[in-house]
Protein backbone atom coordinates (compact mmCIF):
# COMPACT_ATOMS: atom_id res chain seq x y z
CA UNK A 1 0.00 0.00 0.00
CA UNK A 2 1.27 3.33 -1.03
CA UNK A 3 2.95 5.79 1.18
CA UNK A 4 2.55 9.45 0.25
CA UNK A 5 4.14 9.93 -3.18
CA UNK A 6 7.34 11.89 -3.14
CA UNK A 7 6.95 15.15 -4.98
CA UNK A 8 9.54 15.20 -7.72
CA UNK A 9 11.06 18.05 -9.57
CA UNK A 10 9.42 18.31 -12.98
CA UNK A 11 11.90 17.53 -15.76
CA UNK A 12 13.22 20.55 -17.61
CA UNK A 13 12.04 20.82 -21.27
CA UNK A 14 15.49 21.46 -22.82
CA UNK A 15 16.92 18.40 -21.03
CA UNK A 16 14.05 16.30 -22.30
CA UNK A 17 14.53 17.49 -25.86
CA UNK A 18 18.27 16.80 -25.71
CA UNK A 19 17.63 13.31 -24.40
CA UNK A 20 15.13 12.61 -27.18
CA UNK A 21 17.59 13.91 -29.80
CA UNK A 22 20.16 11.46 -28.48
CA UNK A 23 17.74 8.51 -28.41
CA UNK A 24 16.41 9.26 -31.89
CA UNK A 25 19.92 9.38 -33.29
CA UNK A 26 21.01 6.22 -31.51
CA UNK A 27 18.02 4.03 -32.44
CA UNK A 28 17.33 5.47 -35.90
CA UNK A 29 16.03 2.81 -38.28
CA UNK A 30 15.43 0.16 -35.62
CA UNK A 31 11.99 -1.25 -34.88
CA UNK A 32 8.92 0.38 -36.32
CA UNK A 33 8.02 3.82 -37.47
CA UNK A 34 5.11 5.03 -35.36
CA UNK A 35 3.67 7.29 -38.05
CA UNK A 36 3.44 4.39 -40.48
CA UNK A 37 1.87 2.21 -37.80
CA UNK A 38 -0.75 4.82 -37.02
CA UNK A 39 -1.50 5.33 -40.71
CA UNK A 40 -1.79 1.58 -41.27
CA UNK A 41 -4.42 1.40 -38.52
CA UNK A 42 -6.23 4.46 -39.78
CA UNK A 43 -5.51 6.45 -36.63
CA UNK A 44 -5.45 10.12 -37.45
CA UNK A 45 -2.80 12.55 -36.30
CA UNK A 46 -5.55 14.30 -34.38
CA UNK A 47 -6.40 11.11 -32.42
CA UNK A 48 -2.73 10.63 -31.72
CA UNK A 49 -2.39 14.15 -30.34
CA UNK A 50 -5.47 13.66 -28.18
CA UNK A 51 -3.84 10.54 -26.80
CA UNK A 52 -0.65 12.52 -26.24
CA UNK A 53 -2.56 15.05 -24.13
CA UNK A 54 -4.10 12.25 -22.11
CA UNK A 55 -0.72 10.61 -21.46
CA UNK A 56 0.90 13.92 -20.56
CA UNK A 57 -1.79 14.61 -17.98
CA UNK A 58 -1.70 11.02 -16.72
CA UNK A 59 2.07 11.27 -16.18
CA UNK A 60 1.58 14.45 -14.10
CA UNK A 61 3.49 16.56 -16.64
CA UNK A 62 2.53 20.11 -17.64
CA UNK A 63 0.78 20.59 -21.02
CA UNK A 64 3.96 22.01 -22.56
CA UNK A 65 5.32 18.46 -22.57
CA UNK A 66 2.76 17.19 -25.06
CA UNK A 67 5.18 17.62 -27.96
CA UNK A 68 7.91 15.75 -26.11
CA UNK A 69 5.51 12.95 -25.22
CA UNK A 70 4.66 12.61 -28.92
CA UNK A 71 8.35 12.36 -29.78
CA UNK A 72 8.95 9.88 -26.95
CA UNK A 73 6.10 7.72 -28.27
CA UNK A 74 7.86 7.60 -31.63
CA UNK A 75 11.13 6.60 -29.94
CA UNK A 76 9.33 3.99 -27.85
CA UNK A 77 8.83 1.73 -30.85
CA UNK A 78 12.56 1.80 -31.58
CA UNK A 79 14.21 1.21 -28.20
CA UNK A 80 15.29 -2.44 -27.82
CA UNK A 81 13.18 -4.42 -25.40
CA UNK A 82 13.86 -7.84 -23.95
CA UNK A 83 10.67 -9.41 -22.65
CA UNK A 84 11.12 -12.48 -20.47
CA UNK A 85 8.39 -14.97 -19.68
CA UNK A 86 9.01 -16.55 -16.32
CA UNK A 87 6.60 -18.49 -14.12
CA UNK A 88 3.34 -17.09 -15.47
CA UNK A 89 0.30 -17.71 -17.67
CA UNK A 90 1.12 -15.27 -20.53
CA UNK A 91 -2.18 -13.56 -19.76
CA UNK A 92 -0.43 -10.21 -19.51
CA UNK A 93 1.01 -10.58 -23.01
CA UNK A 94 -2.28 -11.91 -24.35
CA UNK A 95 -4.32 -9.08 -22.88
CA UNK A 96 -2.15 -6.54 -24.67
CA UNK A 97 -1.80 -8.40 -27.97
CA UNK A 98 -5.34 -9.66 -28.44
CA UNK A 99 -7.08 -6.32 -28.53
CA UNK A 100 -9.56 -6.22 -31.39
CA UNK A 101 -9.30 -2.47 -31.84
CA UNK A 102 -6.06 -1.49 -30.18
CA UNK A 103 -5.87 1.98 -28.81
CA UNK A 104 -2.65 3.88 -29.26
CA UNK A 105 -1.22 2.53 -26.00
CA UNK A 106 -1.89 -1.05 -27.09
CA UNK A 107 -0.52 -0.31 -30.55
CA UNK A 108 2.74 1.05 -29.19
CA UNK A 109 2.98 -1.88 -26.85
CA UNK A 110 2.38 -4.32 -29.66
CA UNK A 111 5.09 -2.75 -31.80
CA UNK A 112 7.73 -2.15 -29.17
CA UNK A 113 11.00 -3.27 -30.69
CA UNK A 114 11.01 -6.71 -29.10
CA UNK A 115 14.47 -8.18 -29.59
CA UNK A 116 13.40 -11.12 -27.52
CA UNK A 117 9.82 -12.03 -26.65
CA UNK A 118 9.09 -15.74 -26.27
CA UNK A 119 5.49 -15.46 -27.38
CA UNK A 120 5.76 -13.38 -30.53
CA UNK A 121 9.36 -13.41 -31.75
CA UNK A 122 9.99 -14.78 -35.23
CA UNK A 123 13.22 -16.72 -34.53
CA UNK A 124 13.20 -19.98 -32.65
CA UNK A 125 15.74 -22.20 -30.91
CA UNK A 126 19.39 -21.20 -31.37
CA UNK A 127 18.44 -18.18 -33.47
CA UNK A 128 16.26 -16.83 -30.69
CA UNK A 129 19.05 -17.38 -28.17
CA UNK A 130 21.45 -15.54 -30.48
CA UNK A 131 19.06 -12.63 -30.75
CA UNK A 132 18.96 -12.40 -26.96
CA UNK A 133 22.75 -12.61 -26.66
CA UNK A 134 23.22 -9.96 -29.33
CA UNK A 135 20.86 -7.52 -27.66
CA UNK A 136 22.33 -8.05 -24.22
CA UNK A 137 25.80 -7.42 -25.66
CA UNK A 138 25.25 -4.67 -28.21
CA UNK A 139 22.76 -2.61 -26.21
CA UNK A 140 24.18 -3.24 -22.77
CA UNK A 141 22.89 -0.57 -20.40
CA UNK A 142 20.37 0.74 -22.95
CA UNK A 143 17.77 -1.97 -23.48
CA UNK A 144 14.62 -2.20 -21.40
CA UNK A 145 13.96 -5.48 -19.69
CA UNK A 146 10.34 -6.43 -19.09
CA UNK A 147 9.74 -9.46 -16.92
CA UNK A 148 6.44 -11.25 -16.84
CA UNK A 149 5.95 -13.83 -14.12
CA UNK A 150 7.44 -14.70 -10.78
CA UNK A 151 10.74 -16.51 -10.33
CA UNK A 152 10.69 -19.88 -8.58
CA UNK A 153 13.63 -20.07 -6.20
CA UNK A 154 13.11 -23.44 -4.50
CA UNK A 155 15.54 -26.19 -5.60
CA UNK A 156 17.86 -23.56 -7.12
CA UNK A 157 15.09 -22.42 -9.43
CA UNK A 158 14.77 -25.81 -11.17
CA UNK A 159 10.99 -25.43 -11.29
CA UNK A 160 11.45 -23.22 -14.33
CA UNK A 161 13.73 -24.05 -17.23
CA UNK A 162 13.81 -22.14 -20.49
CA UNK A 163 15.38 -22.35 -23.91
CA UNK A 164 17.45 -25.02 -25.69
CA UNK A 165 20.01 -25.19 -22.88
CA UNK A 166 17.43 -25.58 -20.15
CA UNK A 167 18.65 -22.51 -18.33
CA UNK A 168 16.77 -21.84 -15.10
CA UNK A 169 14.53 -18.79 -15.00
CA UNK A 170 16.53 -17.48 -12.08
CA UNK A 171 19.79 -17.56 -14.01
CA UNK A 172 18.28 -16.14 -17.21
CA UNK A 173 16.58 -13.30 -15.35
CA UNK A 174 19.75 -12.48 -13.47
CA UNK A 175 21.81 -12.41 -16.67
CA UNK A 176 19.37 -10.23 -18.61
CA UNK A 177 18.64 -7.90 -15.70
CA UNK A 178 22.35 -7.23 -15.20
CA UNK A 179 22.68 -5.39 -18.52
CA UNK A 180 19.30 -3.69 -18.63
CA UNK A 181 18.77 0.01 -18.27
CA UNK A 182 15.78 -0.74 -16.13
CA UNK A 183 13.78 -3.82 -15.19
CA UNK A 184 10.01 -3.47 -15.40
CA UNK A 185 8.00 -6.13 -13.58
CA UNK A 186 4.75 -6.75 -15.41
CA UNK A 187 1.62 -8.12 -13.81
CA UNK A 188 1.00 -9.36 -10.32
CA UNK A 189 3.37 -12.34 -10.59
CA UNK A 190 6.50 -10.36 -11.41
CA UNK A 191 5.48 -7.60 -8.99
CA UNK A 192 4.30 -9.62 -5.98
CA UNK A 193 4.60 -13.31 -6.81
CA UNK A 194 1.09 -14.00 -8.07
CA UNK A 195 -1.02 -17.03 -7.26
CA UNK A 196 2.01 -19.28 -7.48
CA UNK A 197 3.41 -17.48 -4.44
CA UNK A 198 0.18 -18.01 -2.50
CA UNK A 199 0.54 -20.14 0.60
CA UNK A 200 2.05 -22.70 0.81
CA UNK A 201 4.10 -21.58 -2.21
CA UNK A 202 5.61 -24.96 -3.19
CA UNK A 203 7.98 -23.57 -5.84
CA UNK A 204 9.36 -20.80 -3.66
CA UNK A 205 8.01 -18.28 -6.18
CA UNK A 206 9.22 -14.77 -5.54
CA UNK A 207 8.62 -11.46 -7.27
CA UNK A 208 11.49 -10.32 -9.46
CA UNK A 209 12.81 -7.68 -7.07
CA UNK A 210 13.02 -10.20 -4.22
CA UNK A 211 14.42 -13.09 -6.27
CA UNK A 212 17.15 -10.98 -7.89
CA UNK A 213 17.64 -8.41 -5.15
CA UNK A 214 17.28 -5.51 -7.60
CA UNK A 215 14.99 -2.53 -7.91
CA UNK A 216 12.19 -3.00 -10.40
CA UNK A 217 9.36 -0.79 -11.54
CA UNK A 218 6.29 -2.80 -10.65
CA UNK A 219 3.24 -2.60 -12.90
CA UNK A 220 0.94 -5.02 -11.07
CA UNK A 221 -2.49 -6.15 -12.14
CA UNK A 222 -3.92 -9.43 -13.37
CA UNK A 223 -3.40 -8.59 -16.15
CA UNK A 224 -1.69 -5.19 -16.00
CA UNK A 225 -3.06 -2.26 -17.98
CA UNK A 226 -1.19 -1.43 -21.22
CA UNK A 227 -1.47 2.30 -20.46
CA UNK A 228 0.54 1.87 -17.27
CA UNK A 229 3.41 0.16 -19.06
CA UNK A 230 3.49 2.54 -22.02
CA UNK A 231 3.28 5.55 -19.70
CA UNK A 232 6.17 4.24 -17.64
CA UNK A 233 8.25 3.62 -20.77
CA UNK A 234 7.46 7.14 -21.98
CA UNK A 235 8.51 8.56 -18.64
CA UNK A 236 11.78 6.65 -18.81
CA UNK A 237 12.47 7.92 -22.32
CA UNK A 238 11.56 11.50 -21.45
CA UNK A 239 13.54 11.87 -18.27
CA UNK A 240 15.92 8.94 -18.18
CA UNK A 241 14.69 8.45 -14.64
CA UNK A 242 12.45 6.01 -12.90
CA UNK A 243 9.12 7.74 -12.22
CA UNK A 244 8.20 8.51 -8.62
CA UNK A 245 7.28 5.19 -7.04
CA UNK A 246 4.93 4.26 -4.24
CA UNK A 247 5.57 0.79 -2.91
CA UNK A 248 7.57 0.11 -6.06
CA UNK A 249 4.72 1.12 -8.37
CA UNK A 250 4.63 4.28 -10.52
CA UNK A 251 2.88 6.88 -8.41
CA UNK A 252 1.13 8.41 -11.40
CA UNK A 253 -0.80 5.18 -11.94
CA UNK A 254 -1.02 3.53 -8.53
CA UNK A 255 -1.45 6.26 -5.94
CA UNK A 256 -5.23 6.47 -6.11
CA UNK A 257 -7.49 4.02 -4.41
CA UNK A 258 -10.10 2.26 -6.55
CA UNK A 259 -12.73 3.00 -3.89
CA UNK A 260 -12.13 6.76 -3.98
CA UNK A 261 -12.54 7.19 -7.73
CA UNK A 262 -15.19 4.52 -8.15
CA UNK A 263 -18.21 5.37 -10.30
CA UNK A 264 -20.39 3.50 -7.78
CA UNK A 265 -18.97 5.37 -4.79
CA UNK A 266 -22.11 7.46 -4.30
CA UNK A 267 -24.08 4.26 -3.76
CA UNK A 268 -21.58 3.19 -1.12
CA UNK A 269 -22.03 6.44 0.79
CA UNK A 270 -25.79 6.19 0.39
CA UNK A 271 -25.78 2.69 1.84
CA UNK A 272 -27.14 1.15 -1.35
CA UNK A 273 -25.62 -2.27 -1.95
CA UNK A 274 -25.97 -5.21 -4.27
CA UNK A 275 -27.09 -7.97 -1.90
CA UNK A 276 -26.73 -10.82 -4.36
CA UNK A 277 -25.92 -11.21 -8.03
CA UNK A 278 -28.73 -10.18 -10.31
CA UNK A 279 -30.93 -8.51 -7.72
CA UNK A 280 -32.59 -5.13 -8.07
CA UNK A 281 -29.53 -3.37 -6.67
CA UNK A 282 -27.33 -5.04 -9.28
CA UNK A 283 -29.62 -3.82 -12.05
CA UNK A 284 -29.54 -0.31 -10.63
CA UNK A 285 -25.74 -0.31 -10.45
CA UNK A 286 -25.47 -0.17 -6.66
CA UNK A 287 -22.22 -0.55 -4.74
CA UNK A 288 -20.58 -4.00 -4.86
CA UNK A 289 -19.05 -3.84 -1.37
CA UNK A 290 -21.29 -6.56 0.08
CA UNK A 291 -20.53 -8.95 -2.76
CA UNK A 292 -16.86 -8.66 -2.00
CA UNK A 293 -15.51 -5.60 -3.82
CA UNK A 294 -11.95 -5.02 -2.60
CA UNK A 295 -11.73 -1.50 -4.04
CA UNK A 296 -11.21 -0.05 -0.55
CA UNK A 297 -7.85 -1.87 -0.28
CA UNK A 298 -6.63 -1.54 -3.85
CA UNK A 299 -4.58 1.12 -5.58
CA UNK A 300 -4.82 1.30 -9.33
CA UNK A 301 -6.12 3.55 -12.09
CA UNK A 302 -8.77 1.21 -13.54
CA UNK A 303 -11.46 3.82 -12.94
CA UNK A 304 -9.73 6.38 -15.13
CA UNK A 305 -7.99 4.26 -17.77
CA UNK A 306 -10.39 1.31 -17.93
CA UNK A 307 -9.83 -1.81 -20.01
CA UNK A 308 -10.47 -3.31 -23.42
CA UNK A 309 -9.88 -0.15 -25.41
CA UNK A 310 -11.21 1.85 -22.44
CA UNK A 311 -14.61 0.19 -22.87
CA UNK A 312 -15.19 -0.93 -19.31
CA UNK A 313 -13.60 -2.50 -16.25
CA UNK A 314 -14.77 -5.00 -13.63
CA UNK A 315 -16.65 -2.65 -11.30
CA UNK A 316 -18.41 -0.93 -14.15
CA UNK A 317 -19.29 -4.31 -15.65
CA UNK A 318 -20.89 -5.38 -12.38
CA UNK A 319 -18.30 -7.40 -10.51
CA UNK A 320 -16.33 -6.13 -7.53
CA UNK A 321 -12.62 -5.41 -7.62
CA UNK A 322 -10.54 -8.42 -6.54
CA UNK A 323 -7.52 -6.35 -5.59
CA UNK A 324 -5.22 -7.78 -8.28
CA UNK A 325 -2.68 -4.97 -7.98
CA UNK A 326 -2.08 -5.59 -4.28
CA UNK A 327 0.54 -7.72 -2.62
CA UNK A 328 -0.65 -11.28 -1.82
CA UNK A 329 -4.21 -10.62 -2.95
CA UNK A 330 -4.89 -14.34 -3.45
CA UNK A 331 -4.29 -14.95 0.22
CA UNK A 332 -5.45 -11.67 1.70
CA UNK A 333 -8.60 -10.84 -0.19
CA UNK A 334 -10.16 -14.29 -0.39
CA UNK A 335 -13.01 -15.14 -0.58
CA UNK A 336 -13.12 -12.73 -3.48
CA UNK A 337 -16.92 -12.41 -3.60
CA UNK A 338 -17.49 -11.83 0.10
CA UNK A 339 -16.75 -8.77 2.21
CA UNK A 340 -13.65 -8.89 4.37
CA UNK A 341 -15.78 -9.38 7.48
CA UNK A 342 -16.32 -12.87 6.13
CA UNK A 343 -12.68 -13.26 5.21
CA UNK A 344 -10.97 -16.25 6.73
CA UNK A 345 -8.59 -15.83 9.63
CA UNK A 346 -6.70 -18.53 11.44
CA UNK A 347 -8.41 -19.18 14.75
CA UNK A 348 -5.95 -18.69 17.58
CA UNK A 349 -4.91 -21.85 19.47
CA UNK A 350 -6.53 -24.08 16.86
CA UNK A 351 -3.77 -24.77 14.39
CA UNK A 352 -4.92 -24.80 10.79
CA UNK A 353 -8.56 -24.08 11.58
CA UNK A 354 -9.98 -21.06 9.85
CA UNK A 355 -13.14 -19.11 10.54
CA UNK A 356 -14.44 -15.83 9.29
CA UNK A 357 -13.54 -12.74 11.30
CA UNK A 358 -17.18 -12.29 12.23
CA UNK A 359 -17.54 -15.89 13.37
CA UNK A 360 -14.48 -15.58 15.58
CA UNK A 361 -15.73 -12.27 17.00
CA UNK A 362 -19.27 -13.38 17.73
CA UNK A 363 -18.04 -16.68 19.17
CA UNK A 364 -15.87 -14.67 21.52
CA UNK A 365 -18.84 -12.54 22.60
CA UNK A 366 -21.00 -15.66 22.98
CA UNK A 367 -18.37 -17.43 25.06
CA UNK A 368 -18.14 -14.34 27.28
CA UNK A 369 -21.90 -14.31 27.75
CA UNK A 370 -21.95 -18.02 28.60
CA UNK A 371 -19.11 -17.56 31.07
CA UNK A 372 -20.89 -14.64 32.72
CA UNK A 373 -24.14 -16.56 32.98
CA UNK A 374 -22.29 -19.53 34.49
CA UNK A 375 -20.56 -17.33 37.01
CA UNK A 376 -23.81 -15.59 37.95
CA UNK A 377 -25.56 -18.91 38.58
CA UNK A 378 -22.57 -20.19 40.53
CA UNK A 379 -22.44 -17.04 42.66
CA UNK A 380 -26.17 -17.09 43.33
CA UNK A 381 -26.05 -20.77 44.29
CA UNK A 382 -23.20 -20.22 46.73
CA UNK A 383 -24.82 -17.18 48.25
CA UNK A 384 -28.09 -19.08 48.66
CA UNK A 385 -26.31 -21.91 50.44
CA UNK A 386 -24.43 -19.64 52.81
CA UNK A 387 -26.64 -16.97 54.35
CA UNK A 388 -24.75 -14.21 56.05
CA UNK A 389 -21.77 -14.59 53.73
CA UNK A 390 -21.73 -10.87 53.18
CA UNK A 391 -21.02 -10.13 56.81
CA UNK A 392 -17.47 -11.42 56.61
CA UNK A 393 -16.52 -9.05 53.83
CA UNK A 394 -14.11 -6.32 54.67
CA UNK A 395 -13.22 -3.18 52.83
CA UNK A 396 -12.59 -3.96 49.19
CA UNK A 397 -11.01 -2.10 46.41
CA UNK A 398 -12.93 -0.06 43.92
Amino acid sequence: MPKCPHPRRAPSPPDVERRLDGLEARFQGRGHDLEELLASRGISRRSFLKWTSMMTAALWLPPSFERSVARAAAVATRVPVVWLHLQECTGCTESALRTAYPGISELILEYLSFDYHETIMAPAGEAAEKSLEDTVESHRGAYLCVMEGSIPTAMDGKFLRLGPKGETGLSLARRVAAGAKVVIAIGHCASYGGPQAAAPNPTGAKPVHEALGIQTIRIPGCPYNAVNLVGTVLHLLLTGEVPALVDGRPAWAYSKRIHDTCPRRAHFDAGEFVEQWGDEGARKGFCLYKVGCKGPYTWNNCNEMQWNQAASFPIRAGHGCIGCSEDAFWDDMAPLEKPLAEGAVAIPFLKGVEGSVDTVGWTLIGATAVGIAGHAVYSAARKGSKPGHDGEEGNHGA
Binding site: R257, G271, E280, G397
Partner: protein, 227 residues
Protein backbone atom coordinates in the same frame (compact mmCIF):
# COMPACT_ATOMS: atom_id res chain seq x y z
CA UNK B 1 -21.26 2.92 60.75
CA UNK B 2 -21.16 3.51 57.04
CA UNK B 3 -18.30 5.53 55.63
CA UNK B 4 -18.42 7.27 52.27
CA UNK B 5 -15.28 6.55 50.21
CA UNK B 6 -14.40 8.76 47.29
CA UNK B 7 -13.45 6.64 44.30
CA UNK B 8 -13.75 8.67 41.08
CA UNK B 9 -13.32 12.35 40.38
CA UNK B 10 -15.73 14.24 38.15
CA UNK B 11 -13.25 14.15 35.27
CA UNK B 12 -12.78 10.41 35.62
CA UNK B 13 -16.51 9.83 35.56
CA UNK B 14 -16.99 12.02 32.51
CA UNK B 15 -14.18 10.26 30.71
CA UNK B 16 -15.51 6.88 31.73
CA UNK B 17 -18.90 7.59 30.17
CA UNK B 18 -17.44 9.24 27.10
CA UNK B 19 -15.34 6.14 26.58
CA UNK B 20 -18.19 3.73 27.29
CA UNK B 21 -20.71 5.40 25.00
CA UNK B 22 -18.29 6.09 22.18
CA UNK B 23 -16.88 2.54 22.28
CA UNK B 24 -20.45 1.25 22.02
CA UNK B 25 -21.13 3.63 19.14
CA UNK B 26 -17.88 2.60 17.43
CA UNK B 27 -18.80 -1.07 17.74
CA UNK B 28 -22.27 -0.73 16.27
CA UNK B 29 -21.22 1.63 13.48
CA UNK B 30 -18.15 -0.53 12.84
CA UNK B 31 -20.33 -3.59 12.34
CA UNK B 32 -22.36 -1.64 9.81
CA UNK B 33 -19.28 -0.41 7.96
CA UNK B 34 -17.78 -3.91 7.83
CA UNK B 35 -20.95 -5.47 6.50
CA UNK B 36 -23.88 -3.11 6.02
CA UNK B 37 -26.80 -4.83 7.72
CA UNK B 38 -29.76 -2.82 6.66
CA UNK B 39 -30.77 -1.92 3.22
CA UNK B 40 -32.98 0.78 1.81
CA UNK B 41 -34.09 -0.49 -1.57
CA UNK B 42 -35.86 2.55 -2.92
CA UNK B 43 -34.59 5.71 -1.31
CA UNK B 44 -36.30 8.97 -2.03
CA UNK B 45 -34.43 11.98 -3.26
CA UNK B 46 -30.69 12.19 -3.03
CA UNK B 47 -30.65 13.07 0.67
CA UNK B 48 -29.82 9.52 1.65
CA UNK B 49 -26.37 9.14 3.08
CA UNK B 50 -26.62 6.08 5.29
CA UNK B 51 -23.07 4.78 4.98
CA UNK B 52 -21.69 8.32 4.91
CA UNK B 53 -23.45 9.21 8.16
CA UNK B 54 -22.55 5.93 9.82
CA UNK B 55 -18.91 6.42 8.91
CA UNK B 56 -19.04 10.00 10.17
CA UNK B 57 -20.50 8.75 13.48
CA UNK B 58 -17.78 6.09 13.60
CA UNK B 59 -15.03 8.66 13.09
CA UNK B 60 -16.45 11.14 15.60
CA UNK B 61 -16.90 8.50 18.29
CA UNK B 62 -13.45 7.13 17.50
CA UNK B 63 -12.01 10.62 18.05
CA UNK B 64 -13.81 10.80 21.40
CA UNK B 65 -12.39 7.40 22.34
CA UNK B 66 -8.93 8.65 21.40
CA UNK B 67 -9.25 11.84 23.44
CA UNK B 68 -10.51 9.87 26.45
CA UNK B 69 -7.68 7.37 25.91
CA UNK B 70 -5.00 10.05 25.83
CA UNK B 71 -6.46 11.72 28.93
CA UNK B 72 -6.40 8.38 30.74
CA UNK B 73 -2.79 7.93 29.68
CA UNK B 74 -1.94 11.20 31.37
CA UNK B 75 -3.95 10.47 34.50
CA UNK B 76 -2.53 6.97 34.64
CA UNK B 77 0.77 8.48 35.74
CA UNK B 78 0.04 12.01 36.89
CA UNK B 79 -3.38 12.03 38.52
CA UNK B 80 -3.22 14.15 41.69
CA UNK B 81 -6.03 12.09 43.11
CA UNK B 82 -4.93 8.54 42.46
CA UNK B 83 -2.50 7.58 39.69
CA UNK B 84 -3.52 4.13 38.46
CA UNK B 85 0.09 3.20 38.03
CA UNK B 86 0.22 2.69 41.81
CA UNK B 87 -2.13 -0.24 41.35
CA UNK B 88 0.48 -1.92 39.13
CA UNK B 89 3.75 -1.28 40.98
CA UNK B 90 5.48 -2.83 42.81
CA UNK B 91 4.78 -5.40 40.19
CA UNK B 92 5.30 -8.60 42.20
CA UNK B 93 3.06 -7.54 45.09
CA UNK B 94 0.28 -6.22 42.87
CA UNK B 95 0.40 -9.26 40.61
CA UNK B 96 -0.11 -11.42 43.70
CA UNK B 97 -3.09 -9.30 44.73
CA UNK B 98 -4.58 -9.50 41.23
CA UNK B 99 -4.14 -13.26 41.22
CA UNK B 100 -5.83 -13.53 44.62
CA UNK B 101 -8.76 -11.48 43.33
CA UNK B 102 -9.04 -13.66 40.23
CA UNK B 103 -9.07 -16.76 42.44
CA UNK B 104 -11.75 -15.19 44.54
CA UNK B 105 -13.94 -14.54 41.50
CA UNK B 106 -13.63 -18.14 40.38
CA UNK B 107 -13.83 -19.96 43.71
CA UNK B 108 -15.71 -17.42 45.86
CA UNK B 109 -13.91 -19.13 48.73
CA UNK B 110 -11.07 -17.12 50.11
CA UNK B 111 -11.74 -13.65 51.37
CA UNK B 112 -11.32 -11.06 48.62
CA UNK B 113 -8.06 -9.19 48.99
CA UNK B 114 -8.41 -5.66 50.26
CA UNK B 115 -6.67 -2.55 49.19
CA UNK B 116 -7.47 0.99 50.06
CA UNK B 117 -7.18 3.47 48.49
CA UNK B 118 -6.82 2.72 44.78
CA UNK B 119 -8.54 0.33 42.42
CA UNK B 120 -7.79 -3.31 42.89
CA UNK B 121 -4.87 -4.58 40.83
CA UNK B 122 -6.93 -7.05 38.78
CA UNK B 123 -9.15 -4.19 37.68
CA UNK B 124 -6.04 -2.16 36.91
CA UNK B 125 -4.59 -4.94 34.73
CA UNK B 126 -7.90 -5.21 32.90
CA UNK B 127 -7.81 -1.46 32.46
CA UNK B 128 -4.34 -1.66 30.91
CA UNK B 129 -5.36 -4.48 28.55
CA UNK B 130 -8.52 -2.74 27.34
CA UNK B 131 -6.61 0.50 26.83
CA UNK B 132 -3.89 -1.31 24.96
CA UNK B 133 -6.61 -2.61 22.64
CA UNK B 134 -8.01 0.90 22.32
CA UNK B 135 -4.51 1.99 21.34
CA UNK B 136 -4.39 -0.78 18.72
CA UNK B 137 -7.76 0.39 17.39
CA UNK B 138 -6.47 3.94 17.29
CA UNK B 139 -3.34 3.12 15.28
CA UNK B 140 -5.03 0.66 12.92
CA UNK B 141 -8.03 2.99 12.58
CA UNK B 142 -5.83 5.92 11.60
CA UNK B 143 -4.00 3.61 9.22
CA UNK B 144 -7.27 2.63 7.58
CA UNK B 145 -8.40 6.24 7.48
CA UNK B 146 -5.26 7.49 5.74
CA UNK B 147 -6.27 6.44 2.20
CA UNK B 148 -9.57 8.31 2.41
CA UNK B 149 -7.96 11.34 3.87
CA UNK B 150 -7.40 14.43 1.79
CA UNK B 151 -4.63 16.67 3.06
CA UNK B 152 -6.71 19.61 2.02
CA UNK B 153 -9.06 19.24 4.97
CA UNK B 154 -6.44 18.90 7.66
CA UNK B 155 -6.62 21.61 10.31
CA UNK B 156 -3.21 20.97 11.79
CA UNK B 157 -0.18 20.05 9.71
CA UNK B 158 0.80 17.20 12.04
CA UNK B 159 -2.43 15.32 11.30
CA UNK B 160 -1.46 13.89 7.88
CA UNK B 161 1.85 12.89 9.41
CA UNK B 162 0.10 11.01 12.25
CA UNK B 163 -2.15 9.17 9.79
CA UNK B 164 0.78 8.30 7.51
CA UNK B 165 2.84 7.07 10.45
CA UNK B 166 -0.09 4.99 11.74
CA UNK B 167 -0.48 3.38 8.34
CA UNK B 168 3.21 2.58 8.02
CA UNK B 169 3.44 1.20 11.55
CA UNK B 170 0.28 -0.89 11.37
CA UNK B 171 1.12 -2.28 7.94
CA UNK B 172 4.65 -3.08 9.10
CA UNK B 173 3.28 -4.92 12.15
CA UNK B 174 0.39 -6.80 10.58
CA UNK B 175 1.62 -7.25 7.01
CA UNK B 176 -0.96 -5.62 4.77
CA UNK B 177 -3.84 -3.20 4.85
CA UNK B 178 -6.24 -6.13 4.68
CA UNK B 179 -4.64 -7.69 7.76
CA UNK B 180 -4.82 -4.30 9.49
CA UNK B 181 -8.50 -4.18 8.66
CA UNK B 182 -9.06 -7.71 10.08
CA UNK B 183 -7.17 -6.86 13.28
CA UNK B 184 -9.21 -3.66 13.65
CA UNK B 185 -12.38 -5.70 13.25
CA UNK B 186 -11.40 -8.46 15.70
CA UNK B 187 -10.03 -6.13 18.36
CA UNK B 188 -13.46 -4.45 18.44
CA UNK B 189 -15.04 -7.75 19.49
CA UNK B 190 -12.38 -8.31 22.15
CA UNK B 191 -12.95 -4.83 23.59
CA UNK B 192 -16.70 -5.42 23.74
CA UNK B 193 -16.19 -8.83 25.39
CA UNK B 194 -13.91 -7.26 28.02
CA UNK B 195 -16.36 -4.39 28.55
CA UNK B 196 -19.17 -6.91 29.09
CA UNK B 197 -17.09 -8.72 31.71
CA UNK B 198 -16.33 -5.38 33.34
CA UNK B 199 -20.00 -4.39 33.56
CA UNK B 200 -20.91 -7.81 34.91
CA UNK B 201 -18.22 -7.67 37.58
CA UNK B 202 -19.31 -4.23 38.76
CA UNK B 203 -22.91 -5.44 39.10
CA UNK B 204 -21.68 -8.61 40.78
CA UNK B 205 -19.64 -6.64 43.29
CA UNK B 206 -22.58 -4.35 43.98
CA UNK B 207 -24.76 -7.37 44.75
CA UNK B 208 -22.28 -9.50 46.66
CA UNK B 209 -20.14 -6.94 48.42
CA UNK B 210 -23.02 -4.52 49.11
CA UNK B 211 -20.76 -1.50 48.97
CA UNK B 212 -22.61 0.36 46.25
CA UNK B 213 -20.07 -0.19 43.46
CA UNK B 214 -22.53 0.82 40.76
CA UNK B 215 -22.81 4.14 42.50
CA UNK B 216 -19.11 4.86 42.03
CA UNK B 217 -19.37 5.66 38.36
CA UNK B 218 -22.38 7.96 38.85
CA UNK B 219 -21.75 9.72 42.18
CA UNK B 220 -18.07 9.00 42.58
CA UNK B 221 -18.55 7.40 46.02
CA UNK B 222 -18.97 3.95 47.41
CA UNK B 223 -20.08 3.05 50.91
CA UNK B 224 -18.06 0.94 53.29
CA UNK B 225 -19.38 -0.54 56.50
CA UNK B 226 -17.12 -0.02 59.52
CA UNK B 227 -17.32 -1.15 63.09
Amino acid sequence: MIRRVRRMTVMMRIMHWVLALSVAACFVTGLYIAKPFWFRPAPGPADVLVMGNVRFAHFVSAMLVDVAFLSWCYLFFFSLDEPFVRSLVPFRKRWGEAWAMLRHYFTLRNKPPTRDPGIDPLNAYGFVVIHFLVFVQMVTGFGLMRPTFSHANSLVPIWPWILGLSERVSVAVFGSLVAVRQVHHLAGFVIVALATIHVYLQIWRDIFWTEGHISVVFSGYKYVEEE
